[in-house]
Subunit: 431 residues, 2 copies
Amino acid sequence: MATHPAHPVPHLTTALTGPLHQLETVIIERQALIESWFRCQWHTTPAPFYASVDLRNAGFKIAPVDTNLFPAGFNNLNPAFEALCIQAIQLAVEKSGGPTTDRIVIVPESHTRNLYYLESVRVLRDLIDKAGFEVRIGSLIPDLEGPMSIELNSGEKLELVPLSREENAVRAGEFVPDLVLLNNDLSAGLPAILEGLEQPVVPPLALGWSTRLKSVHFGYYQQVAGEFAERLDIDPWLIDPLFRNCGEIDFMKREGTACMQINVDALLRQIQRKYDEYGVDSKPFVIIKADKGTYGMGVMTAHSAEDVLELNRKERTRMATTKEGQKITKVIIQEGVYTHETWGDANTVAEPVVYMIGNNVVGGFYRVHDKRATFENLNAPGMRFERLAFDECCITPDKHQSPDAHPNRFYTYGVIARLALLAAAREKANL
Amino acid sequence: MATHPAHPVPHLTTALTGPLHQLETVIIERQALIESWFRCQWHTTPAPFYASVDLRNAGFKIAPVDTNLFPAGFNNLNPAFEALCIQAIQLAVEKSGGPTTDRIVIVPESHTRNLYYLESVRVLRDLIDKAGFEVRIGSLIPDLEGPMSIELNSGEKLELVPLSREENAVRAGEFVPDLVLLNNDLSAGLPAILEGLEQPVVPPLALGWSTRLKSVHFGYYQQVAGEFAERLDIDPWLIDPLFRNCGEIDFMKREGTACMQINVDALLRQIQRKYDEYGVDSKPFVIIKADKGTYGMGVMTAHSAEDVLELNRKERTRMATTKEGQKITKVIIQEGVYTHETWGDANTVAEPVVYMIGNNVVGGFYRVHDKRATFENLNAPGMRFERLAFDECCITPDKHQSPDAHPNRFYTYGVIARLALLAAAREKANL
């Protein structure tokens, strides 16, 4: 895991903290009610095995902008919370596979050169090992003929074992797992070797990007945020990014542009109305991204409907395919949420990413970058950012302190992240 | 919680670490097998709500000597593991009362002057509060007419609310709990107000000292240790204190002395045979203690059968009653396990105490004392000791390090403590 940073709490540099302060106050005051509500929700709709949620804190609202059900980045978590992860893994495995689950195979992404990603797989493997399970890394790399050992920058080693199949059971070499843990978002499609297995696969294949749509996720999120907001008697917009979606786009052929323009325009007006209501003196913007697939190529920012028209050939090419090279035919147009958390000097932007195992929050980290504008997407191609582990694990609210004190701000992050997790749980339940 | 000590790991100062090293090696090597076994055990026999287990590390064996099902001392745990406790409490409450449990009343011991104990109740209350439950302290103090606020040495306040009953529901003032959490060992007897409640009471009343017997617990422990030892192919004596018991003793009338003498003598011979087998060059001793009730008055050390005969009137008086003033009529005679962990200078003795919530180990502390001999009982009347929070939470074994490295030694402590917890789980299942 990452080295523990000295001062891992960015500052909120905005005067527009009226509604946020109110939100944080309500969340701390009604903590018992919130946890009670979550307990019932998880009982009805169990959480996926794990998730990371990217949040944006605009000072006047806090909202999730991406929910990753095959999280990487375990190497960025605070090592102080290792035991918390171990305990949460024990619980999540028992819930997924029952008490007789002893052997787990992790199926990671197939790229072998991203040592940074593989370091995360290594940390995940070690956590599962420490939690008391036998664990192997089973690779989907097509031409892998035998075990491959990769030396990581940390000096640790990771052994990838090719997956094979015998009837309806998958195995990694001689190792026959009781549970298959996917850490591969299936952007490249559904691997036949994992279909129709007798062993449980978690999260289920259908939560991969070969079938999942962001617009469906944010549809469920809207529902969840609405119920939560009603319970706390707050405006759901304070925790929910508005969105619209367009199907059947062809960026290269400029097909579907009219639909995008209409939706971008309508969404910008909707945001402006909320900005007016709360006296927010900023320019609304939207993020347009592929409805399927991880962040990557197909992400753009628009401040007006014209921005969609004015795409040059290079930009259209960039929007036309995902990073896996698949054609983008559907997009989601999401309210852009300003990042008003800064780190060190005022030009350094910080975005919180919260991690959950089962329904337990186990910490997170900040993505920090000092070159981009507050409205841009920090998780974009070619960009570099630092990661700063949270000093707090997000589950230790302290009513003796002010609602925006560190343990309470992180608790709020944990609550909003769990709302996104609950949306994913409903996606899973309705597969 | 306690301030985090700088170097909280006592040293093992003994040459007799052959069998221990072997035990620690086996435990680290077979960690996955051990955890698999525990998972099945907890599935069959759920753990009590919480427990603390006093261990003794003799260098050649590690064994539990007391299992407390109504633990105090939460204020001595390492604050770094607060989140681990919170997560474990969420799970333990759900297992005890189901997902709709929102309101919890803690029923503590009735002494109001032991501010040290009340500090533990305060920490337990805060942990439950942070875990997202409404919590009150419901007092059994007979003459308490309304809420009483007690200011603790930490500056925190604790409000005791008198318990009342309406038909089969108990309440603390207007607060009607969904779950009653006992933190009272019932040495003073079964309180009628808690009998036959419609609300679940955890741990169950029958696990209090008004009915429980140490000899029954250690009988189950013997069974558990035997099964565990067989699975790991080790001698169960390395983790199990031998014991015998005597019923119907009257120390004042010198009745039952013959039975005690016979058992003390037989037990000392049994220990000597094991010492011979392992080449332990120490003098065997036994601990005689009340079979019911917490540690207190009725505890003595004997190195020979004659020690029982030679009790003077003062010693007999001390042995005749528990600290609650109840007559001792049954005793357990347990193999004395030397304490070979020392702290700082070689005359300072350290005994580990491990804490569990549900079946999750959440840390512990060392009782440290620099005046007593290695064969005496550190938890004895009038004695003073320091408490040093564990630096490790006992669930993060590290196979890259030697079997006796800190995370691994603490992991071993957590394993042995869980064996005692499993014995308590079997007691509970067979009530």
